[in-house]
């Protein structure tokens, strides 16, 4: 419902703004909401282009794009959906690239509930463990990786609760309904510091990197603004913003 009305609004505003060739519509995965807002405002300021951002689940955006939603750019939370769009020839060939790498954290809303280690997890001293649905969310897949590495799958399974996405997983933990949860570092960090509670930032070695890919869609092929924003994502300014929100700098991963 919500995304349908968002799309309707978009279509409407597009009709009203066809004269401005430098307006672009950008679909962004929810986990990247905060950094993208900052980056876009910086970009608008620097370039004079206008960026309209839509935030939501990658899966929904994928379905909408497939059915002709008027987005110029798509910033997914994973690599599968952009790759799928590429196979379906809905993107400008060669435009797919990894714009950010998400980091996973084990988090509790209580101060001092966990130290910077997996001890409490291993000791099973918690009521519920919130995990993003691995079927739907890349962070969920990563969380399962971690539990596998720690040989905790079978021992913790009965305590799992699934958030449909990483935002809901965060909610379960922040309301105290789950003592622990695997969340995105970007959710609990601001300006390089933990916002609240206690956490263990999980070493990269324990899970497959959570690469988030972006693509230039067919409708953005002739848009200078869309291409400019893609270039801007790779600048130091943009990377600094991502880093402050707990995303790993691209330069170090690529």
């Amino acid at each position: 419902m919500g995304s349908i009305s968002v799309s309707c609004l978009l279509v409407l505003s597009l009709l009203l703004h066809t004269a401005h060739a430098d307006d672009i519509n950008v679909a962004v995965a929810s986990n990247f909401t905060a950094p993208m807002k900052e980056i876009a405002s910086l970009f608008e300021h620097a370039s004079g282009h206008k960026v309209r951002l839509s935030f939501g689940a990658s899966g929904k955006f994928y379905a909408q794009i497939k059915h002709g939603a008027p987005f110029h750019l798509f910033f997914s939370a994973d690599q599968q959906k952009p790759a799928q769009l590429e196979r379906e020839e809905l993107i400008v060939p060669g435009s797919r690239f990894t714009y950010a790498v998400g980091q996973l954290a084990l988090w509790s809303a209580q101060e001092g509930f966990i130290k910077a280690n997996p001890d409490r997890l291993l000791a099973l001293q918690f009521n519920k463990l919130a995990i993003a649905n691995p079927k739907l969310a890349p962070y969920g897949v990563a969380a399962i990786d971690v539990l596998e590495h720690l040989a905790l799958i079978d021992r913790t399974k009965s305590r799992w609760v699934h958030g449909e996405n990483i935002a809901q997983t965060y909610q379960f933990v922040s309301t105290g309904n789950a003592d622990l949860g695997f969340v995105a570092l970007s959710q609990i960090m601001k300006e390089g510091r933990l916002k609240a509670g206690s956490s263990w930032i999980i070493p990269e070695a324990l899970y497959t990197p959570i690469k988030q890919d972006a693509v230039l869609l067919r409708s953005g092929e002739d848009s200078p603004a869309a291409q400019a924003l893609l270039r801007f994502m790779k600048t130091e300014q943009a990377e600094a913003i991502m880093q402050s929100y707990g995303y790993k700098p691209l330069a170090r991963t690529q």
């Binding site: 689940a57 899966g59 929904k60 994928y62 379905a63 799928q84 009521n127 519920k128 919130a130 649905n133 079927k135 739907l136 799992w160 609760v161 699934h162 958030g163 449909e164 809901q168 909610q171 379960f172 309301t175 105290g176 309904n177 789950a178």
Partner: protein
């Protein structure tokens, strides 16, 4: 159409949830409806408004508040913990509690309407036939409000089956415990498993249509019976 084991688990869970909720709601909703139908109290309007809230409130709002209220720091969570029941989110009974709130107006309102339609007279008649207040309620009000109870049961059941937003918020998507059909469909769609989504969605569509058809058919039959 064929269903996977997970789908069947979700279907069974959903039916169990809807049945439990409907039965409990008939128990809880009947006195509320009776009070609303009879009272002259100034509290009638506020109580009626609270009962009707889920009709207009987005399920996410209700789900959000329930998540907080039933959580370890919420008042309801404190209450259930003090009873030694732990906290309710992510459990079947948590869904039951949430669904009771969510489907309340669909059960209370038809019963209340049916009870109001009875009027004063049959109760006066029963009183002159030496039936006490409780006796009047069971021997006159309940049978005469039967159409309201049938409508309430059907709507309460169907509405619980179709519940999604709240369950998503407080369920935690646990197979066999909180993963109901609507959540399972959502998962299928999000995971791009459109075939499975089709099967379950089709079944839901058919179910909802049959329920409404049965309801309207029943109401028509009752009207005809009344006219004769």
């Amino acid at each position: 159409m064929s269903f996977s084991e997970a789908d069947l688990t979700a279907i069974w869970l959903t039916l169990r949830l809807a049945t439990t909720v409907t039965l409990l709601l008939l128990l809880i909703g009947t006195p509320i409806a009776w009070w609303l139908a009879r009272t002259q109290s100034v509290w009638k309007a506020p109580v009626a408004a609270i009962v009707a809230l889920p009709l207009i409130l987005p399920p996410t709002v209700l789900g959000f508040y329930l998540l907080i209220a039933m959580g370890p720091h919420g008042f309801f969570g404190q209450f259930t913990q003090s009873l030694g029941l732990g906290t309710l989110p992510f459990t079947f009974w948590g869904l039951v509690v949430a669904s009771i709130f969510y489907s309340m107006p669909f059960v209370v309102q038809p019963i209340q309407n049916a009870m109001e339609a009875i009027g004063e007279r049959p109760l006066e008649v029963a009183a002159t036939l030496r039936a006490g207040p409780l006796d009047r309620f069971f021997s006159v009000v309940l049978p005469l409000a039967k159409p309201g109870f049938i409508t309430a049961s059907i709507l309460g059941f169907a509405h619980t089956v179709g519940e999604f937003g709240i369950i998503l918020m407080i369920g935690g998507n646990i197979p066999g415990e909180t993963r109901v059909i609507s959540v399972q469909i959502y998962d299928h769609v999000e995971a791009l498993e459109f075939m499975q989504a089709h099967a379950l969605s089709g079944a839901m569509l058919l179910f909802s249509f049959s329920v409404l058809l049965a309801l309207y058919w029943l109401q028509r039959k009752q009207k005809i019976a009344l006219l004769n």
